[in-house]
């Protein structure tokens, strides 16, 4: 569903993405892993067209995305740090997004708005919100317009355990609906029963791309966190 071919992006001297070629296919739930600053967020932002790669090409449903914008109506994006116009209330932001994104007669999916209790906070201005509440708004917006692809950048960071469990259940339901889900997270234990594939990046390069089952088999571990730890230590030895 999404392909990238040899994308490279440099920020000054730093190479954030180094010749990355990946294929994300429909119905998978993919974990993008790697140490801090390895280029995960940059990769996500290039998929969304927020960052323009220096070279290489990106395809969405076999169509080149450079300069295109309509394809983004099929993506729900939850940023790592959501930034919203400070003077708007939650209701303003949600109404604006509905105004911009409503295309069909499909009813917006407000399940998360209700589950997160955002209804009581609707009149609060964005600048007064805590980090966690901002995350709730980001999550609710990402799922609202029935996207085929969900891109979640550190979705559970800042959410309390109860809410992050609700979010996880929602992700699982969407996965079962056959959507492509891309997640980056540092909390590997959370990803265990979610993901089907693992992408591991380091210093802007794609280190490996494996099915979760294959990864577990190779390392002989049941837990994702242990499997990754094993691979990382093996890398260091080399």
């Amino acid at each position: 569903m999404i392909n990238t071919k040899n994308i490279t992006k440099k920020f000054g001297k730093l190479t954030a993405l180094d010749n990355v070629s990946v294929t994300f296919s429909k119905g998978e739930c993919i974990a993008l892993l790697g140490p801090n600053g390895c280029g995960k967020t940059t990769l996500i932002k290039t998929l969304l067209g927020m960052v323009v790669p220096d070279s290489g090409s990106i395809y969405f449903n076999n169509e080149l995305i450079a300069g295109k914008w309509m394809y983004r109506s099929r993506i729900g994006y939850m940023p790592q740090i959501g930034r919203y116009p400070e003077n708007m209330t939650i209701a303003n932001v949600i109404d604006m997004m509905k105004d911009i994104r409503k295309e069909s007669n499909e009813k917006p999916d407000e399940e998360l708005v209700n589950a997160f209790g955002l209804k009581n906070l609707m009149q609060k201005k964005m600048r007064t919100l805590s980090g966690g509440t901002t995350q709730k708004v980001s999550a609710a917006l990402a799922f609202m317009f029935h996207p085929d692809v969900l891109i979640l950048d550190e979705p559970t960071a800042g959410l309390d355990p109860l809410l992050s469990e609700k979010l996880k259940q929602k992700i699982i339901r969407e996965k079962e609906n056959g959507k492509l889900i891309l997640i980056t997270s540092h909390i590997l234990s959370e990803l265990d029963n979610l993901v089907t594939e693992v992408f591991y990046m380091q210093e802007g390069k794609l280190l490996f791309h494996k099915k979760l089952s294959a990864l577990k088999e190779e390392t002989g571990e049941i837990k994702l966190s242990k499997a990754i730890a094993k691979i990382m230590t093996a890398q260091e030895l080399v």
Binding site: F11, M50, V52, M96, M97, I100
Partner: protein
């Protein structure tokens, strides 16, 4: 386009600065017309104030507004909206609200006290200047990521166009006073929209004493009619060119 423009305009309207700017212009123009017994004299005083204030407010307000909208821009860029639409909506929102402020604040008093071709030229030029300095602000802010630096650049640009440029022109004139530099000076005056606006209005007013050096050469070279048409075209280019450059830059910008 319409949808995004609506949000930009509502946002600018909620910000009281444009309203205060309108009132400020209104107070200035009413005072000026009431102080002078002759409306033509009032026009001249108003012209000099407008040529300083309009560019200053337009460039500073627009620059700060764009930096403050960074969240709005970031939010929209990840949505199914063309970048071009986002940028042009911000431009149109700023340009239309500041032009409207100028029209209400200075345009209506001018129409009341001096309803003539000169008055109308002044209003049109003031609106053009507003649009030009919004476009320049867009270019300055898209090129610099740092807010303090961007606002600094905007202030320097205003200083350059309002004060430094005239100094440079005088300097060149004195240095080369023995040579025939008239035609060269025409070219030079096109490099500054404020200068050009002044020439345009004064050509219309027909007060040759006020023309200044570039103005005198302009009138001599083109005659009134052509001078006005050509300076109008150049002023339009001054708005279109920075806008196009900033749009190109914004289309490739990383957010």
């Amino acid at each position: 386009m319409k949808k995004i423009l609506k949000y930009v305009i509502v946002d600018i309207a909620q910000n009281k600065i444009v309203l205060i700017y309108t009132l400020l212009l209104l107070v200035i123009s009413l005072t000026v017309f009431n102080l002078e017994d002759n409306a033509a004299k009032g026009m001249l005083s108003l012209l000099n104030i407008v040529l300083i204030i309009v560019p200053l407010i337009c460039i500073i307000f627009s620059t700060i507004y764009i930096y403050n909208s960074s969240e709005f821009i970031e939010l929209l860029v990840s949505q199914p909206v063309k970048r071009r639409t986002i940028w042009l909506s911000i431009f149109s929102g700023l340009a239309s609200s500041l032009s409207l402020a100028f029209f209400i604040g200075a345009g209506i008093p001018v129409l009341l006290f001096e309803f003539s071709a000169t008055g109308i030229t002044m209003i049109v030029t003031g609106i053009l200047l507003s649009i030009i300095f919004v476009a320049i602000a867009l270019l300055a802010s898209v090129k610099t990521r740092d807010k303090a630096k961007g606002i600094g650049v905007a202030i320097l640009l205003w200083l350059y166009f309002s004060i430094i440029f005239d100094g440079l022109v005088l300097f060149i004139l004195f240095q080369f006073s023995d040579y025939p530099v008239e035609k060269f000076m025409i070219g030079v005056s096109a490099l500054n929209p404020i200068d050009l606006a002044r020439v345009l209005i004064i050509l219309k007013m027909d007060v040759s004493v006020m023309l200044g050096y570039t103005g005198a050469v302009f009138q001599d070279f083109f005659g009134n009619q052509w001078g006005i048409i050509i300076s109008g075209i150049i002023l339009t280019a001054w708005a279109a060119f920075p806008l196009m450059l900033s749009l190109r830059r914004f289309n490739r910008k990383d957010l």
